[in-house]
């Protein structure tokens, strides 16, 4: 490294540490993003400097990136540098790499920042989980995003892309990548990829997908099926403490990524079972004497995964919907999510957009109550499953405490 660059980087790291320390000390923040921002301002190449020579795994996709990153961290079996607070843009990555000097790095990465972060971190592995609509009012539409990934991945030399073969948009994005491990997964969400990413003709789905133009599902070498991850003919039985069928898919991606960086499957899969909760999700929490289980769902595919048949929901379900900038200002997506599957549950509508939710549930004949004052909920007794989108989730996480 050129001497002047090295000095600049050292200065930026010191400044970032100081800002993070102040931020935590004054209680203004959790001290991740602010320091990273200052560091990047002082040394724009800081992320690249910090990532140099480390084994970096990037995890991106519309859904599951936080949980999959947590599974990678758990499965690695050593100290891991990770942006575990979900700050998934470069400032958060910088903060994570300053916080820990471990050679093992997993970075959850915002979909829109993937190209830039690949460029800066020279990752060993890029995990592409899925791609579906999320906050369309502020991000580019999903096909444009797939196009940008495709451009970046075509140049991703020296790394292994671990990609979801069952998702046509992901398959399109990773098609030109030099090295790909394709993973086949049971898909519950196909609404965003009904027309071919190459030619816009309708896709055919019968076990696998294909198009008349010749674009078809890539042949996968790894397959997620129920609680099993199949590596060729070799099955690994997964045991997880976190609920949801979709987490077996996430765990499969984590095992593939870890294998690329030399972590044996047997040890990694055993360690995955000890992950109990991810940033307040999945685990039981307390609020005013009530027992809550918080689940995050911020888009249709996320809700579909949570409400899939066999989902272990409590009889009483609270659904909290906000429409802040971080949530996307447009709650139209409520109509693309299968909320009708809440039929039979006692549903409470919470959050700023509770009336939008209640209108949607009313149209489907789901019995729901609009709750204007959450204090009345303190009077209940039974355990509750609380499904919330991003800022509503943050609110309930702050209001509740671990059991």
């Amino acid at each position: 490294m050129e001497r002047r660059t090295a000095v600049r980087a050292a200065l930026a790291i010191t400044a970032a540490r100081l800002v993070n320390w102040l931020s935590r000390r004054t209680g203004r923040g959790s001290g991740t993003v602010a320091g990273g921002r200052v560091g990047l301002r002082l040394a724009p190449q800081l992320l690249s400097t910090l990532a140099h020579g480390r084994d970096v795994i990037l995890v991106t996709g519309t859904n599951g990136k936080t949980t999959t990153s947590a599974l990678v961290r758990e499965g690695w079996g050593r100290a891991v540098a990770a942006n575990a607070t979900g700050a998934n843009m470069p400032a958060g990555h910088v903060a994570a790499l300053i916080d820990s000097s471990s050679n093992a790095v997993v970075l959850e990465t915002d979909e829109a920042w993937l190209a830039m972060v690949i460029d800066q971190t020279a990752p060993r592995v890029i995990v592409l989980l899925n791609l579906s609509r999320d906050q369309l009012d502020r991000a580019s539409e999903v096909r444009q995003l797939a196009e940008r990934w495709r451009g970046a991945l075509a140049k991703a030399n020296g790394c292994t892309v671990v990609a979801n073969a069952s998702d046509p948009l992901v398959a399109y994005a990773a098609e030109l990548a030099p090295t790909v491990t394709w993973v086949q997964v049971p898909s519950v969400w196909q609404l965003d990829a009904q027309s071919c990413p190459h030619c816009t003709s309708p896709l055919r789905f019968d076990g696998t997908w294909s198009c008349e133009c010749g674009f078809r599902e890539p042949t996968a070498t790894v397959r997620s099926e129920g609680t099993r991850a199949w590596f060729g003919e070799d099955a690994t039985e997964l045991t997880l403490a976190i609920p949801g069928a979709f987490n077996f898919v996430n765990a499969t991606f984590a095992l593939v990524a870890l294998e690329v960086v030399g972590v044996p499957r047997s040890g990694a899969s055993a360690r995955l079972a000890s992950l109990m909760s991810v940033q307040g999700r999945y685990g039981r929490r307390q609020w005013r004497g009530r027992e809550l289980r918080l689940l995050l769902a911020k888009n249709p595919a996320g809700v579909a995964a949570l409400l899939a048949p066999g989902a272990d929901l409590d009889d009483e379900v609270w659904v909290a919907i906000n429409a802040q900038i971080a949530d996307g200002k447009d709650p139209s997506w409520l109509y693309d999510a299968p909320f009708e599957q809440l039929k039979g549950h006692q549903v409470m509508c919470l959050g700023e957009r509770r009336l939008d939710l209640a209108t949607r549930l009313e149209a489907d004949g789901v019995t729901a109550t609009v709750v204007d004052d959450v204090e009345v909920l303190a009077l209940g007794q039974s355990p509750v499953t609380l499904i919330a989108n991003y800022t509503a989730f943050r609110y309930w996480l702050g209001e509740s405490t671990p059991c």
Partner: protein, 225 residues
């Protein structure tokens, strides 16, 4: 039997547009109106319906939906008196022409004289349109600018957001209603859902109290209207 035709939800369904069909079905059934929901997907032929719904979509799917409709007896069914509610891409498809990928122009179905081009920037946010004694509230996310032909009435005047061109939104021609308020616009505007049902059934509808009324009032308040 009222037949509601949801056209190509697999192409034109980017923003919860299927919600409009759900809302209409609910509001019709609550009045005891017998109803059948007919979905036309890619590869299906367009079935006969009293009220057709066209949603929003991205460029490629929008072009495909227009081409599929042009090959079938859709325009003639509209000419024969079927009602239509079209939002965003659907609004452009019924028109004379629209812009696709880059700045290429694609012909519309030509049912309504309305030319859509790509504007200089996208309009993203809450919108409101005054329609007679009512206000339509919704959310828009599009880069289109639509110019209506002589004698084509807009749906209403814009009070928030952009609509067609910052002054007016959508169009209202015979039994065709169109707006840039995308997605489940009828969920937010129960008065419009009822207007469409009345047009399609030829009946005067009994009033219906629903949580959607509260939602409409709350949206108006949040926009300062």
């Amino acid at each position: 039997m009222l037949r509601i035709g949801l056209l190509y939800p697999d192409l034109l369904g980017t923003y919860g547009d299927g919600g409009n069909a759900r809302i209409l079905a609910h509001r019709a059934r609550a009045r005891g109106i017998d109803l059948e929901l007919v979905e036309t997907r890619v590869g299906d032929s367009v079935g006969r319906a009293d009220l057709y719904l066209l949603g929003g979509g991205e460029d490629g799917p929008q072009r495909l939906a227009r081409d599929l409709l042009a090959q079938q007896y859709f325009a003639s069914r509209v000419a024969d008196g079927a009602s239509v509610f079209a939002v965003c891409a659907g609004l452009q498809i019924l028109g004379t022409s629209f812009a696709v990928e880059g700045n290429d122009t694609h012909p519309g179905l030509g049912i309504v004289e309305a030319v859509s081009v790509r504007g200089t920037k996208r309009s993203v946010g809450d919108m409101a349109t005054r329609v007679g004694e009512h206000v339509l509230v919704g959310f828009e996310n599009h880069g289109g600018v639509t110019t209506l032909g002589q004698g084509v009435s807009p749906l209403g005047t814009v009070v928030r957001g952009r609509g067609n061109d910052g002054a007016v939104d959508g169009y209202r021609v015979g039994r065709i209603w169109a707006t840039y308020a995308h997605g489940p616009a009828l969920a937010l505007n129960p008065w419009l859902a009822d207007e469409l049902l009345a047009s399609a059934t030829g009946q005067t509808l009994a009033p219906l109290v629903s949580v959607a009324d509260e939602l409409h009032r709350e949206r108006l308040r949040s926009l300062g209207l």
